[in-house]
Each structure stands twice: as C-alpha cells, then as structure tokens.
Amino acid sequence: MLAYTLRRIAQLVPVVLVLTVAVFAFVEALPGSIVDTLIGTEGGDVEEARAILTKEYGLDRPVYERYALWLVRTLQFDFGNSLVTRRPISTELLSRIPATVYLAVVGIVLSIVIAVPLGTLAAVRRNSAVDYTAQVISLAGISIPEFWFAILCVLLFSLYLGWLPSSGYVSPLEDFWGSLQFLILPAAAIGFRQAAFTTRLTRSSMLDELSKEYVDTARAMGLPERRVIFRYTLRNAMIPTITISGLQFANLLGGTVVLESIFAWPGIGRAIFEAILQRDYPLIQAGVLVLGVIVVVMNLLVDLTYRLLNPRVKLA
C-alpha cells in the first residue's frame, strides 16, 4: 500500500507539470490585456503608462522566460502579487479557499447523508413506494437547475419565513453558529442536487451488488439481512459513490460561481471569475493551478479509498 501510494504520488509530478503548461497557455491565450485594463482610457500619456506597466509586470519578456520564472516561483509557493489589488496572491487565495472548502465539504456531506440511505433503501425495497419516492426526488434534483432551487430556497426561507439570511458569509472561526445560518441555504442547494445524482448511483450500484452470488451465499448461510446489506453489499456498492462524490467535491471547489453570486459567497470560484474578467494573470494562474492540484489529489485519495473499502481491489 505504501509503495503504491508513493508510486502514485510520483506519477502526479508530470501531471502537475502538464497542468502548469496548460494553465499558463490558457492565460496567455486570453484576448485583452491587464495593462489596458489598468491604465484605463482618457490619459494623454497612455503609451508611456503602458510601457511602464508592461515592463514592471515583466510582460515584455518572452513567454518561455515568463513561464520558467513563474514555475520556479510557484515551486517555492511564491505566487507573487495580484496585478490588480497588488496584494500577495497567497493572501487573496487564502481569504477565499476556506469559504469554498467549507461550503463544498458541508454540501457533499449533506448529499451523502441524504443519498446513501435513500439510495440503499430504494434498492433494497425495489419497486416499492419508497423506491418510487426516491426516484421522483432524485429526478427532480437532477432536473431542477441548482441556481433556480437556490432562488426558491431564498424566497421561502429568507423572504417569506425569515428564518435564514438570504446571502453573505461569516467565517466559522469567527462565529461558528452564526456561520451556520449563512451556510444552510447554499449548502442545501448544493447538497440537494448532488444528492440526486448520488441517490441514483447508490441505488443502481446496490441493485447490481444485490444480484451477485456472494449476496445469495451470505443469505444462504443465514446471515442477518441487515448484516448482508450494510456489512457486505453496501460496502462494495460504495466504490462508485465514493468516486463520484470525490470528483463532485473537486468540481465544487471551482464550479460554484453561480451559487456564489446568488448567495454573495466569497469563494474561490468568484475570485477566479473576477480575475479572468480583469485579466489578473498571476491570480488566474495560481487559482486555477491550486484547483487543478486539488482535483489531482482528490483523484489519488479516491483511488486509495477503494483499497480501504475493499481489500480485494488490486493496487497495480
């Protein structure tokens, strides 16, 4: 297991290197320039200002030189300063990532808490009222756009009932209970949709596992049904669920821009989106790279989890 883990980590190095090239190339390919954005218009000395800023930001150097410089700095965890706010990018990212991770973790946990019992129950009681209800709920979750569900939640729980704030963010480190008030609606909006996918996946995986011979054998040996389901079947059925949830989590870290706008949630997705609009190259590069590395690491963790769930899975 240790050798396998180390080997997998070593394999990540070229993946991350390719990622850095892709990130840098993507930013280079963006039309428009940070310099034009910063100097604005109407100045009588625009050309002079452009030359000054281009030199200050090193944009007059060849692309390969800038890439090499950026890579060396990045390897030292020095992302430089934002070209727009002029503050360290590490500060900008660190002020955003916790909010995003907080939302994504709670959203995913919520989805698993809903989906696994519901999917399992639907499979075990196939074609029953429970099964049909679970399928209708999950179909609704998949069909209703996340942003629309979020707006409905705001209307009901904030505007009409007045139970929860409609938008904003409070850090759990500053005020844990206060932060939960702001978290519930966005996390529910994420959790409901993700739970819809995961419920269907868990149900189909469970049905697949329940039809296998080892389940019949376990039942023939007189094992209690609860043990057959939860000890043996569910454990095997969780492998695809864990895979999808892991990838969903990684996706949520950068993919909740719309929800972040609806709930005015200061997440990393919105920060990168704004950086793209303003062509804040180092912030885009650092943000996308960090998210990319998280996705890669999440994939690794998902793979390692297989083994924990089912020791028969071979680690090649």
């Binding site: 034009d36 100097i39 218009t41 002079e48 706008s261």
Partner: protein, 545 residues
C-alpha cells in the same frame, strides 16, 4: 439618539476640549463646514449620532490605493475614506473641503488654494501645502496613478508651495474648471507618511477611516473623529459610528437582502424591479430616484471602416440611416422600464449644464433609414456593434439597436464583450458601433474636452471625430468665466455633434437607491448618486434602532 449611542455616553475627541470661537459658531449656524484653526473646536456630539450602516453595493474597488485605482463614488464602499481639496453639494456645485477658499489668476493659468488649518489625515498627519503638492505629483506619475485620475490634472504643469497653508497650481493652458476637477472624485488626498501602505491600509482624509477589506465581500469603515465638517448645530460629522460595505453584484440579491433586513441601504435597484418595489414595499422602504449626469449613447467608429468618412464616402449617409433606424422611445421603455428620459445631449435636464437650445439628432423614421441605407455605398456590408457585458443597460441597448438595424435591412452583428476585450477592440478600431455610456463629468469640459475635442486622447482612441468649429468652441469655453455664455457654447457643440453624428445620445441613465425607512435616517443621495458629499448624504445619516 440610538440605544448604542446612549450606552456609549458622551464621546470627546481631544479637540472637543478646546473652546469654540465666535466665528466658527457663526459659520456653523449657517451649516457651513467649519474652517480655520478653530475648525474642530466646536465639535460636539449630535443626538442623532450612532449606528453602523450596512450598505449593499453592486460593485467594489479593485484595490485600496486611491490614486492607483478608481474609487467609484456611487458604488464603492471605500469612497467613504476619500476626501480632497474640493467637495461638492447636492447640486454638484464645488464646495470648500480641505481648501477653504481659492481663486484664479486673470489668465486662468494660476490657481491659488488656501487650506484649512488643523485638517488632518486619518493617521494624524497635518494636511498642509506640502502634502497637497506631494499628492498631485503622485497622481501625475504614470507609474502610479490611474489614467482617469491622471487625466483630470493633466493640464497642471507644476504645483508650488507658497506657505504652509497655501498651494499654487500652475497650468499649461487656461482652465476655468480646475476647482471642479479637484473634487475628491477622483483627485483625493492620501497621507504621504502612509504611502507605503496604500495597497494594504490606506490612510486618507474622508469622513470614514479604513478598518478592513476583503474584496467583493466586506469593507469596514469607522468614523473619522477629526473630520473637518460639522452640521448646522456644530456637531461633528459623520453621525454614523461606522459603515460596512457588502458588495453583492446581482441587483436582485441586494434587493432581497434589503427586504430581509440584512442590509440597510442599497444602490442600483434594477429598472425592472423599481416600480413594483416602490408600489409594494414603499411603506417599509424608501426609494430615491437619483438625478443623473450619466448618459447612454452609441459611439460610431469614425477612425476606420464603414462609418468613417476616411474609408467610405457615404459614411455620413449610413450614420444618418442608423440614427433614423434607432427608436429611442423603444430603448426608454424596454431597457429603462420607462424610468428617466431620452437624451438629446450629454447633460440631462437635472443638470445645471443642460443645454437649452440645441438641434436634436435625427428622429426615428424606419422608412427613411431604409432609403438612406439603400442609397449609401456599403449599405449592405456587415456592421459590428460591440457592447460591454458589465452594465446591463449597455448590452440591452446594444441588443435592441441590433434588432432595430436588422429591421431597417442592415447586415449587422452584435458582440457582448468583457472590458479588456472591449478596450482592445476600441483601440484597434475593430467595431462600427459601440453601445456605451459616460458619466461623472461634473464640469462640461470633462465631457467635451476629453471626448469631443479632436485632440483628446479618448476621442482619438475610440471615435476619431474632428470638427474644427467644435474644437474652437471647446477650447474657448475653457477660458469663459460667464456661466451662461459657457453653457450656450457647449449647446452649440452639442448641435454640431447631433448634426455630424460621431455618436447618438440615446438615454439619460437613471439610478435608484433604496433603504430601510425604519433604520436609515437623514440620508439623501447627491445629484448623480454619490453617497458622500458636503452637507448631507452618508455624512448626515444615522441608524435608528
């Protein structure tokens, strides 16, 4: 007095222990800003004082250095920290701020400003002539300042210090409007001693002090106890203990947060929501329609392409055809929901600079538009409209104009683009029509001198309009002290613009603000929407309850 204020009890600054002077009391009785060495002497606490206002804004500053970045005074919470030599009132007329008086030489090339004694930056540094000189030189430095801010003082050749409280501006050319251009937006003053922290902990001289900022999330400001301005009773301003800016980009997110009580005040109520909101919730929430100096328009590219007289002998015919094809009443109804009014010039009727006698631009006449298009060379060739994706009314107007031109038989495409791409296309002349808007030119020279004058950088970059007569009038207007004459001069330029069609004014851009009636007391936005201005606005707002 609020409960919070009651709990705190009387609060004194070191200055409040000083004795008030008779002169100051006289000034205060008339509601004038306190001036001179005893400026802060009569500071006392208003019974209205207190509370922290939660302000939901559409936008946020991109950075904290108030010279390097534009601090937009309608929608940036950070505006509260900025102050300058000159302030303005609710009519957008210049008022004393750090400068208590000023005058210009006979040739309008030298302006002398007398500074208030005792005025301070937020860190306690004295605001003197040397610090003003340092600020103007910093703003003029292309390595540091934003071009918009720099352009306002581009006519300043040098600044000299006469004595500790007298500063002199020497101009390259005569300029009757230098004082208005030195209003805190954008020419604000920051503490020279804190310049190295301008990007992290800005120290300025506005009514509020900086406390913290997380971009597009939260901006916290606290009252500057030694702010120079007082109310009519001599109470120190601002009344508020603090201000929390909570940028929420989506208009309906802000409106919902106001209705749920999470915000006290919001800017930019969406046009589509404003009438129903006022009707359904008018008892709970105040809505302020703000008189505007902002104007939406279609710029035509005269530098190159189909609408340029250089490249197409029938370009003027095509521009006329386009003007006749555009139904501005349709834009008024569909984009602005019937709010505001159709524009024929840059300055709206609410502005003291609204021109009285101008020749309006072409009327909506689709048949004439079709006939002119057919007659003109290049009438079947493809036209490109570009529009910025940031402001909804710009791209919505672009969409409508696109449809109207299609109806008139034009072969036209619309591109809705982010700002960096827009800038690139404008500079390269890679468009024919630009759906845009312009605002906050407090003095007409700010608009005509920077956008219509043929030598103006923005005109050269983006439009390419040249009319020698217009140029002569604009330059002459810079030296005209008589206001009525000056207004007529700009009206004459407007007539030329409406005739030549380098652009088509479409609509005055209205702005709606809304606040909680029960909590927000004493607030009124200024002309064109700034929330910090002399004598009122956020400086005289307090929170009840």
């Amino acid at each position: 007095m609020t409960d919070e204020a009651v709990k705190k009890g009387p609060e004194h600054t070191r200055r409040s222990f000083l004795t008030a002077t008779t002169a100051l009391a006289g000034a205060a009785a008339f509601g004038l800003p306190a001036t001179g060495p005893a400026m802060a002497d009569a500071r006392k606490r208003s019974p209205k004082r207190g509370g922290t206002l939660r302000f939901g804004t559409r936008d946020d500053s991109v950075g904290l250095d108030t010279h390097r970045n534009i601090i937009y005074f309608v929608s940036h919470p950070l505006t509260g920290i900025t102050g300058g030599l000159v302030d303005f009132d609710d009519k957008m007329e210049p008022k004393p701020a750090i400068a208590e008086s000023w005058d210009a030489s006979a040739d309008l090339k030298t302006w002398t400003f007398k500074l208030k004694r005792g005025a301070e930056f937020h860190n306690g540094e004295t605001i003197d002539a040397q610090s003003v000189k340092w600020n103007i030189e910093r703003i003029k430095d292309p390595k540091i300042s934003h071009a918009f801010t720099r352009s306002v003082v581009s006519g300043v050749e040098r600044v000299t210090v006469d004595d500790k409280y007298t500063v002199r501006f020497h101009l390259k050319e005569p300029d009757v409007a230098l004082d208005i251009n030195l209003i805190y937006y954008p020419v604000n003053l920051m503490a020279p001693g804190a310049a190295d922290k301008a990007d992290t902990e800005p120290v300025n001289c506005g009514p509020f002090k900086f406390k913290s900022w997380r971009r597009l999330d939260r901006c916290e400001l606290v009252r500057f106890e030694n702010f120079y301005e007082t109310d009519a009773e001599g109470n120190s301003l601002p009344y508020l203990d603090g201000l929390i800016g909570l940028p929420k980009k989506e208009d309906r997110v802000r409106l919902t947060a106001l209705r749920t009580g999470e915000l006290d005040l919001i800017d930019n109520v969406a046009y589509a929501d404003a009438p129903a909101f006022k009707k359904d919730h008018g008892k709970t929430f105040e809505t302020w329609p703000v008189p505007q100096v902002g104007t939406a328009m279609m710029f035509f590219n005269l530098k190159n392409g189909l609408l340029s007289d250089k490249d197409n002998p029938d370009a003027y015919l095509l521009r006329q055809a386009i003007a006749h094809a555009i139904d501005r009443e349709g834009i008024h109804q569909a984009v602005f929901n019937g709010i505001g009014s159709i524009a024929n010039g840059f300055y709206s009727t609410a502005s003291p600079w609204h021109p009285k006698d101008i020749e309006p631009s072409s009327k909506f006449d689709p048949d004439k538009a079709k006939a002119l298009r057919k007659k003109a060379k290049g009438g079947d060739e493809r036209l490109t409209i570009i529009a910025n994706d940031t402001f909804p009314y710009m791209h919505q107007s672009g969409e409508l104009v696109h449809a109207m031109l299609k109806d008139a038989g034009f072969n036209v495409v619309l591109e809705i683009l982010p700002s960096p791409v827009m800038l690139d296309k404008q500079t390269k002349g890679d468009f024919n029509i630009d759906s845009t808007a312009n605002s906050y030119r407090l003095d007409p020279d700010g608009w005509f001198g920077r956008n219509i004058l043929s030598g103006a950088p923005e005109n050269r970059r983006r439009i390419g309009y040249k009319n020698e007569k217009a140029d002569q009038i604009i330059v002459a207007a810079r030296q005209e002290r008589d206001r009525a004459k000056r207004r007529q001069m700009y009206a004459d330029v407007e007539t030329l613009v409406n005739r030549d069609l380098p652009m088509l004014y479409t609509h005055y851009v209205p702005l709606m603000m809304a606040g909680n009636r029960a909590r927000v007391k004493g607030y009124t936005p200024s002309f064109s929407g700034p929330w910090s201005y002399a004598g009122a606005g956020m400086r005289r707002t307090w929170i009840d309850g």
